[in-house]
């Protein structure tokens, strides 16, 4: 449910949490990210940073420039003036991420966990089984078969949390328990209904199904795709995962190292109305296209 009134709660002396709804639906996130885009556009003096999530935004402010209650009033005013969700048009780039599914590096990581922490099924087999798929290849077909939506970029630097826009691409799987102590950079993980791309050698709980040779986080900002920002993916971007072979993986890795890799990024807009129409057609069996084309 999307709240008719914005729920605001303080979070210490210089943050507040604005909550827009009580579920983690894509619809709630569309409004959250549109609200975020409005705040960016308005560039409110004293609003210093924000973290959009599924249905909420954590806002950091400088209380010497911006009074807490004035900010609350301003946020409520902006929220109430947002267009209805069916009219939302959100800036959204389409980014292609090449993936070597069932790569040797995440396999090593899983094996390490099996030896040191707990026996478990090889993640791609596990994900296939819990989704009633016949083989890991069907996991690939599903995961790479449509577009995913960047809900937020957070937790660790540049780490995107993605949800499938195409319901046919959805995978549902329980996360590791206990979590892994380490994960290779570039690992593609799925957990719950989300996908993520590991950006640092961090602990983690998502099931590992592949690895990308391209950085999505570059603090040195040496690669041209990172000229303006150390993160590749931003909330409200869309992602397609493109299966590649080991040879292609090595070639891409080399071109990244040489600085010549050209990231596939298409600018665009995302219309919630078109998306809903497409979903309805899909449900009615009328959308023949395998890819999303709002």
């Amino acid at each position: 449910m999307i709240y008719s009134e914005l729920e605001i709660s303080p979070a210490g002396d210089r943050h507040l949490l604005a909550t827009l709804g009580d579920d983690a639906s894509l619809e709630a996130n569309f409004i959250t990210l549109h609200f975020t885009a409005e705040l960016d556009k308005l560039a409110i003096v004293g609003l210093t940073d924000l973290i959009p999530s599924y249905n909420s935004i954590l806002i950091q402010y400088d209380f010497n420039l911006l009074d807490f209650y004035d900010l609350c009033g301003e946020l409520i005013r902006i929220y109430n003036a947002l267009p209805s969700s069916s009219e939302l048009e959100i800036a959204s780039r389409l980014v292609t991420i090449p993936v070597l599914y069932f790569d040797p590096w995440t396999k090593d990581c899983i094996d390490d966990y099996r030896i040191k922490v707990a026996e478990r099924e090889y993640d791609p087999l596990f994900v296939a089984r819990v989704n009633n798929l016949r083989s890991p290849e069907e996991v690939v077909a599903r995961h790479s078969g449509g577009e995913h939506w960047v809900v937020t970029v957070s937790s660790f630097p540049g780490l995107p949390i993605l949800r499938p826009l195409d319901p046919r691409c959805g995978l549902l799987s329980p996360k590791y328990n206990p979590p892994r102590m380490w994960t290779p950079v570039g690992a593609i993980g799925v957990g719950g209904t989300s996908t993520s791309i590991y950006t640092i050698p961090s602990p983690g709980g998502y099931n590992l199904i592949g690895r990308t040779p391209i950085p999505v986080w570059d603090p040195s900002q040496a690669l041209s795709a990172f000229k303006d920002n150390a993160i590749l993916l931003r909330a409200s971007d869309r992602v397609r995962f493109a299966p590649i072979s080991r040879e292609q993986y090595d070639d891409i890795e080399n071109s990244v190292r040489e600085g010549s890799y050209a990231y596939a990024i298409q600018p665009g807009m995302f219309s919630v109305k078109s998306y809903r129409t497409w979903l309805a057609m899909l449900a009615a069996g009328e959308a023949a296209e395998d890819r999303l084309s709002p």
């Binding site: 709660s9 909550t19 630097p157």
Partner: protein, 326 residues
């Protein structure tokens, strides 16, 4: 001007204030000194801007050699600093001669000391800050804590001040005695996931700081507090545990109910997650957390947003030249 690290100490890092600003939405926490009160005073002592890069020394400090003469200032927890084995005062600027060795030992009072050098520690600026964020290997010396044998470059001071300047006694953060720290918290966000009885339990409990506490988070041990119906009557997408929620952006200082053990989110924390944060430690209380030692007790009391902001303003006023006497 350079400094050679002879012994690194327990986990000594380069930090600046206020750290990485505006990067939360990229998943990058601010980092920076945990006790920014002591940190800024150390810089002011040696004529630096209050935010310049300096060393944060935790529990056991480093031993370093000054390859050229330097003006230094040490503030914060008492790590028994010595220059060529002779005890030296804290909260006072003093000159180290070329070749002299400064050693900081184990903390005998508080937990973290700040070593500022006139000119500031000169490491590359990464995403707007020199602060070290070890988790992602950002800033500082290759994103790591100090290691023996490394050298630290020091910048050219823009203002030259002398030795013998000191911080007015009344303007130093009052280190707690008796091992009990009174910490204010602002209720929220998600305070309504805890019953009013749960709030009272939280304030009545002496929370023991555990040794599993670092720049990412401080784990505290106390009692199980009572969650409200919101924690139990929720959609499954919130997660299985009563303290699970749909992921929210985490405020620094948030007291994060990750399962049974609450974690206070510190300056190198993750920026988003799926556990409730019913209370938040405001920024003006962080110096107390920074100087608390494992097994010491934290007691929390609620304050309003305005009260918390007023405390912070007071500290910011203290962190200025008016606290330094020649």
């Amino acid at each position: 001007m350079t400094i050679t690290v002879l012994k690194p100490g327990l986990e000594t890092t380069v930090q600046d204030y206020p750290g990485r600003v505006g990067m939360l939405r990229n998943g990058v926490p601010p980092s920076g000194p945990l006790d920014d009160w002591s940190f800024r005073l150390a810089n002011l002592l040696v004529g630096n801007d209050p935010g310049m890069a300096a060393l944060e020394c935790q529990f056991v400090g480093p031993t370093v050699r000054f390859e050229q003469a330097a003006l230094i200032g040490i503030c914060g927890g008492n790590l028994s600093p010595k220059l060529d084995s002779v005890p030296i005062p804290m909260w006072t600027s003093l000159r180290a001669k070329a070749g002299q060795v400064l050693s900081l030992g184990g903390a005998v009072g508080g937990a973290r000391a700040y070593l500022a050098v006139a000119g500031g520690i000169d490491v590359p600026i990464v995403m707007g800050s020199r602060s070290t964020y070890v988790t992602a290997r950002l800033g500082g010396i290759e994103g790591r804590s100090l290691a023996a044998g490394r050298t630290l470059a020091v910048g050219q001071p823009s203002v030259v001040v002398g030795a013998g300047r000191s911080v007015l006694s009344a303007h130093r953060p009052p280190l707690s005695n008796g091992g009990i720290h009174q910490i204010s918290v602002v209720p929220g966000p998600k305070h309504d996931w805890v019953t009013s009885a749960g709030h009272q339990q939280f304030y009545a409990t002496g929370w023991k700081l555990t040794s599993r506490s670092n720049r990412v988070g401080f784990r505290i041990q106390g009692e199980q507090i009572e969650f409200s119906h919101r924690a139990y009557e929720k959609d499954p997408e919130n997660g299985d545990h009563p303290s699970n929620i749909i992921d929210i952006g985490y405020p620094i200082g948030g007291i994060n109910w990750a399962g049974e053990t609450p974690i206070i989110l510190m300056h190198d924390c993750i920026t988003l997650g799926g556990f409730i944060v019913p209370f938040t430690v405001p920024s003006g209380e962080f110096w107390k957390l920074a100087q608390a030692r494992p097994r010491e007790v934290l007691r929390f009391a609620p304050v309003s947003v305005e009260e918390a902001q007023e405390v912070r303003r007071g500290i910011d006023e203290i962190c200025s030249q008016r606290s330094i006497e020649d």
